[in-house]
Symmetry: C2
């Protein structure tokens, strides 16, 4: 049987105390089935973002262990930081990578939420694909007013009660938002002009909020050092809105202004499927199977061996 791999990016409300940050990530190191890709603390945001990939069981165990450490060190009543937050462990999103569907990932997130609450006593809100109520799909709706407002409203307003536990938030750790979402690809297209209007117009043609592709967010920004402008995007569903389709649409629109695509940037991580899909398009490869890629086949066989 194919082993499931899931990405999880827990966010903690601690970006300043080095020893606390190290204690929080310790459970992710040298642990069978858990691979720590990256962790970054931001002092202004006073926030820690951890990138993990692993098998669902090992990940869940490690995250609960880490959350207990965060809970013992962070008091939301004293926490200040530029980034919106409602809890010591603020958000825990799960993303399917391979061998697991989005539906299974939603079940995983909901099951984890119950287990997490039992282990820590921290109430849970479900968001994105794991949301139980349509308006809770959006993180900003759950986080409205942040910890300071939510600790009262969770009790006084039934609309704002947690999905698991509560109604009162945890007295020091607040609440945690847990969910399942698709992998978000950060993709930028740099154009050979200094005219910012061109990037802004093109961003408006491709993004969902102005009627473009349904799963693209985007803005136009100036790159003064480079003497270019950029269409800066998040692809929130790279399977429905492929990179190549978005790129070629931008190229086509830029032509109207006599502006070339100079280069593109893939910022941060990207799933292999997103690249293979575009490579197969440009190279016109018929019936390409990702399992023809040696490394992907090897990863699958190694995963099976571990099970």
């Amino acid at each position: 049987m194919e082993k499931a791999f899931v990405e999880c990016v827990p966010n903690y409300s601690e970006g300043r105390r080095k020893e606390v940050i190290e204690a929080i990530v310790e459970p992710f190191k040298n642990r069978q089935g858990v691979y720590l890709f990256d962790y970054r603390a931001d002092e202004d945001h006073n926030r820690l973002v951890v990138s993990l990939v692993g098998d669902p069981d090992s990940l869940q165990e490690a995250i609960i262990e880490s959350a207990k450490i965060a809970q013992s060190h962070i008091d939301m009543n004293n926490h200040k930081g530029a980034h919106p937050r409602i809890g010591a462990v603020d958000v825990i999103p799960f993303t399917p990578i391979s061998g697991i569907t989005m539906e299974e990932c939603v079940e995983l997130a909901r099951g984890f939420g119950r287990r997490y609450h039992e282990a820590t006593g921290i109430p849970v809100y479900y968001y994105e694909d794991a949301a139980l109520k349509p308006d809770r799909k959006k993180l900003e709706v759950i986080r409205k007013g942040q910890y300071e407002a939510l600790k009262d409203e969770a009790v006084s307003n039934p609309e704002r009660q947690p999905d698991v536990g509560g109604p009162a938030l945890h007295p020091t750790a607040g609440a945690t938002v847990i969910g399942a979402r698709k992998f978000l690809v950060a993709f930028n297209v740099n154009l050979g002009t200094t005219n910012l209007d061109v990037a802004k117009k093109i961003a408006s043609y491709v993004r969902a909020s102005s009627g473009g592709f349904c799963h693209v967010k985007g803005i136009g920004v100036a790159l003064e050092d480079k003497g270019m402008v950029q269409v800066s995007m998040n692809l929130v569903d790279y399977e429905k809105n492929s990179l190549y389709r978005v790129l070629e649409t931008i190229r086509m629109e830029a032509k109207r202004y006599g502006v070339p695509v100079v280069e593109t940037e893939i910022y941060g991580m990207i799933p292999a499927g997103a690249i293979l899909d575009s490579a197969a398009y440009y190279m016109q490869v018929a019936d390409f199977d990702p399992q023809q890629v040696i490394e992907l086949r090897l990863l699958k066989l190694m995963g099976e061996g571990l099970k």
Copy 2:
């Protein structure tokens, strides 16, 4: 430290007796560090081709175990088959996949050759990048006259002596050719015409033997069922002659005849690097690092964990 992964495709002179075939591949199953991708026996060729990926140490052990089984079942004096061969275990090529250079892979092949000879008593010839003499780079030079001629010439002609052991071949298992080579990518481009001359001409423009790309082999063939013709190629160094460069050259040449590229085929396995390279070209991605691909990063971290 990064773990090394190597591909190895041993070829055995047995394609008919099912129980012998299964006995030969048994050492590759359920073995730590060895991943059996595929094995195919051909009755006409009377030959078994096994595709393995793994860490160098585990692979070497498993191959020696398997070779001893082949040696005990195959007598070259009774072997008949359409495919050229000089031994019960005919060829053992090693190919670097990740975390290992070609130079290291050559050392691996030569060290393995000595160890293999000690364990089995079978003499060894080194070929491709592991060749000790320039004319032995080519398999067909070593295999000239096949087992039947070589068993005499190895003794009578110093030019044909094995590199390790000998000069007499093993009385039943013959000799084995061991080497290191780059990964070979089978890449076909199908053209929208039934005129075979177009495919033949274009093949001659891109292949090394007619002065094209130095690491491309290719012929033109008719695809009668599809009503197309094909430029059928082996890219023997996909790093020096990228898929996109070969494809775009074919597209450019086909235009002269008003013929479109209808589709392409990647036949069999392909290393991730070969695809990423072409994807980055078409998408104009600046400074793309393969470690940005989640699955490749995961594979690297899993490899480190196993060490």
